[in-house]
């Protein structure tokens, strides 16, 4: 292994470059297009056995190291940063409304993308965690940069959910590091100590010693948007700007996939989590009316395939999950670019307001359909050569439930994203809207990603992707052969009959001005309502009881436990003594309970 001190991890180019962009003024838009390409070149120029460490307090942090899945994830993250920057390019000038937004959104997006790349190069758990949290900061700023009231509120909810997820993750990491230190294990931050999946942790038969693994798993699953922890995704992503959502679709969930692959490969629970995600995404997308929220739910659906593959844990399944993440980032960004172009040109986002746009937005329509075909794994698109590896792995392991649900979900993808999105936006009724295709940079970004979707599905062209997967095939052996007569026919049958079901049931699928409640209802409605109607009246009642109780005490004791509110003050405060007595009481109860067998 080549060890080096001083070389920064590739993501730092995007992070620092992004933060310096606002200082560059007129040159900033051009530099913004170069930075991701520079990062991509740097990733590929680094020796495959390089390791870079930095001293940090009493530890050595490994800020650059190659894990099996680093190359495939880092490559697609850098490519995505380029495609996103091209789509977001401030064509109307930096002084325009879009340009002003760009000056905040793009640096934030680059910090976000660069941190995601740094996570893939992290060689220890602390480095991984620091960049993981920096991603949350960058992505929240991307949501906020839309500058609307909706984005401000959604961004705050997004930040809070990710902060809680981060705390859970940190608690798990600390618990495990302390356990390792107490056993005298050297280098307790090394990632190898956190590979719970390969070590046999399956989460379904865990013991009391597995609390750390559980906390880390939960923290990562928050970012993977696994229900019921993932309502933040469909809540926040569609509130970002047309270009912000494109960036957001790529990094958080796929970095979680990378980390799950690193730490929890083969964890059986993830098979069921992945299946639940795949089905949940379809059901919610079927019911949804907002075009970008439809696509947000389909992110959860697609990440479900990857999480299931990680749970299966074989080389084929993990290769499939990594390859599918690569393909998914491209076609999902393409779909959201298409939806973003429609939003940018019409100002509308609800299917009920759209329709008939094929008349005047042919490039946006064609690119949207290419993305829709790729997400549906149509033959000759990227999805066909990647997702089918996960299904094949389930079949190889004779996992009947996984295979039947994944196959059903593959059909459902075509229904909710493959047909529903293009149908309701570009066809169905004629809304009378006749906007032209978007500006050249948005068209170029869409055409670039559409070309990648097609090229990656062409026999002979997808092999370079297979070559950078975590478990490459030995020389002279094909990693996976997607193009067989039976596979192509089966897939066409599955998808086209799914399409038949869509058109037969079209009256049932008619869009309505509705949303579907998700688990965010608990913190958006239940918690405030509980405070207003239950806790607040209870506390008022408790205050009256307390006042009555304290009123009966001797004066000296009264002064000790209670500072009476000043005249006309609008709040009451507890004296320090009162708080101490309450806490002492709680601790006493806790102590007594601790002795109860």
């Amino acid at each position: 292994m080549t060890e080096s001190v001083g070389l920064p991890p590739p993501g730092v180019i995007l992070i620092l470059g992004g933060l310096l962009l606002p200082l560059l003024r007129r040159a900033a838009p051009a530099v913004a297009l170069l930075l991701p390409l520079l990062t991509l070149g740097y990733i590929w120029a680094l020796p495959g056995d390089l390791s870079v460490t930095l001293p940090f307090m009493d530890q050595q942090l490994t800020v650059l190291s190659w894990q099996p899945a680093t190359r495939v994830f880092a490559t697609i993250f850098a490519l995505m940063a380029f495609g996103g920057a091209l789509f977001a390019h401030p064509i109307t000038g930096l002084a325009s409304e879009r340009g002003k937004r760009w000056r905040v959104e793009l640096p934030a997006a680059f910090v976000y993308a660069g941190s995601a790349i740094c996570v893939t190069f992290a060689g220890d758990i602390l480095t991984l965690f620091m960049f993981w949290e920096l991603m949350a900061v960058g992505s929240t700023a991307v949501v906020w940069s839309a500058g609307t009231e909706g984005s401000a509120r959604a961004g705050m909810r997004y930040a809070l959910v990710h902060l809680v997820g981060g705390v859970v993750l940190m608690a798990g990491i600390l618990a495990h590091v302390f356990a390792l230190q107490s056993q005298g294990v050297p280098d307790p931050l090394a990632l190898s100590h956190f590979a719970f999946g390969p070590a046999g942790f399956d989460a379904l038969s865990c013991g009391p010693g597995d609390v750390a693994a559980w906390l880390i798993l939960l923290g990562v699953l928050v970012n993977a948007a696994a229900p019921p922890l993932g309502a933040w995704l469909a809540d926040a992503y569609p509130e970002a700007s047309e270009s912000g959502t494109v960036f957001l679709s790529a990094f958080t969930t796929k970095t979680a996939v990378y980390v799950l692959m690193l730490l929890f490969a083969g964890t059986e629970l993830l098979i069921y989590v992945g299946l639940a995600m795949a089905v949940y995404g379809i059901v919610y997308a079927i019911l949804e009316n907002d075009m970008r929220r439809i696509l947000a739910y389909s992110i959860v659906n697609q990440v479900g395939f990857m999480v299931c593959g990680i749970g299966i844990g074989t080389a084929m399944a993990l290769n499939g999950a990594a390859a599918h993440a690569f393909a998914h980032i491209i076609y999902k960004a393409l779909l959201l670019m298409s939806a973003g172009s429609v939003l940018y040109m019409t100002g509308k986002r609800k299917c009920t307001d759209l329709g008939g746009l094929y008349h005047s937005m042919p490039i946006t329509m064609v690119c949207g359909i290419v993305g829709a075909l790729a997400i549906s794994s149509f033959p000759l698109t990227s999805g066909f050569v990647t997702k089918s590896m996960i299904n094949q792995a389930a079949a190889d392991q004779h996992l009947a439930l996984a295979w039947f649900v994944l196959t059903a979900a593959s059909a459902g993808v075509f229904l909710h994203a493959g047909i529903k999105f293009p149908w309701f936006v570009f066809f169905q009724k004629d809304s009378g809207l006749r906007p032209p295709d978007p500006p050249w940079n948005m068209r170029a970004a869409m055409i670039f990603f559409a070309a990648l979707c097609v090229l990656l599905g062409v026999p002979g062209v997808y092999q370079p992707l297979y070559a950078i997967l975590p478990f490459p095939a030995p020389a002279d052996v094909e990693l996976y052969v997607p193009y067989t007569g039976a596979h192509v026919l089966s897939q066409l049958q599955l998808l086209l009959f799914s399409g038949l079901a869509f058109f037969v049931l079209l009256p049932v699928l008619k869009r309505t001005l509705t949303i579907t409640l998700d688990s965010d209802w608990f913190y958006r409605t239940l918690a405030p309502a509980s405070w207003k109607h239950l806790l607040s009246p209870l506390m008022r009642a408790f205050g009256e009881v307390r006042d009555g109780f304290i009123g009966g005490l001797p004066d000296d004791l009264k002064r000790l436990v209670y500072s009476p509110p000043a005249e006309e003050s609008w709040f009451r405060e507890w004296g320090l003594g009162g708080a101490m007595i309450t806490i002492t009481g709680i601790l006493f109860v806790y102590l007594v309970l601790g002795f109860v067998p």
């Binding site: 089905v279 379809i282 059901v283 079927i286 019911l287 009316n289 907002d290 609800k350 008939g356 094929y358 079949a395 190889d396 004779h398 009947a400 295979w403 039947f404 196959t407 059903a408 059909a411 459902g412 075509f414 229904l415 066809f427 004629d430 007569g485 039976a486 026919l489 089966s490 897939q491 066409l492 049958q493 599955l494 998808l495 086209l496 009959f497 799914s498 399409g499 038949l500 079901a501 869509f502 037969v504 049931l505 049932v508 699928l509 309505t512 001005l513 509705t514 949303i515 579907t516 409640l517 998700d518 958006r524 409605t525």
Partner: protein, 77 residues
Amino acid sequence: MKLEDPATIRMLWVVSLVVLAVLVAADAAVEHHPHFGVDGGFAFHAWYGFAVCAGMVLVSKFVVGLLLKRRDTYYDD
């Protein structure tokens, strides 16, 4: 050719149904390698794709939708 034209829609339906019929007929010409038995049945992916999609639409609409659907100003109110 406008896609809103009823004649165009009728023609698209005819072409689509012919393609679907050809896909089902082609099943006899390929050799499947089933892993679970039923997946090797005649035109399995065709009827399975149709059935699960119809099922998902109906369950979404009449079970989940019935319980969880609200007007889209729900949180604004």
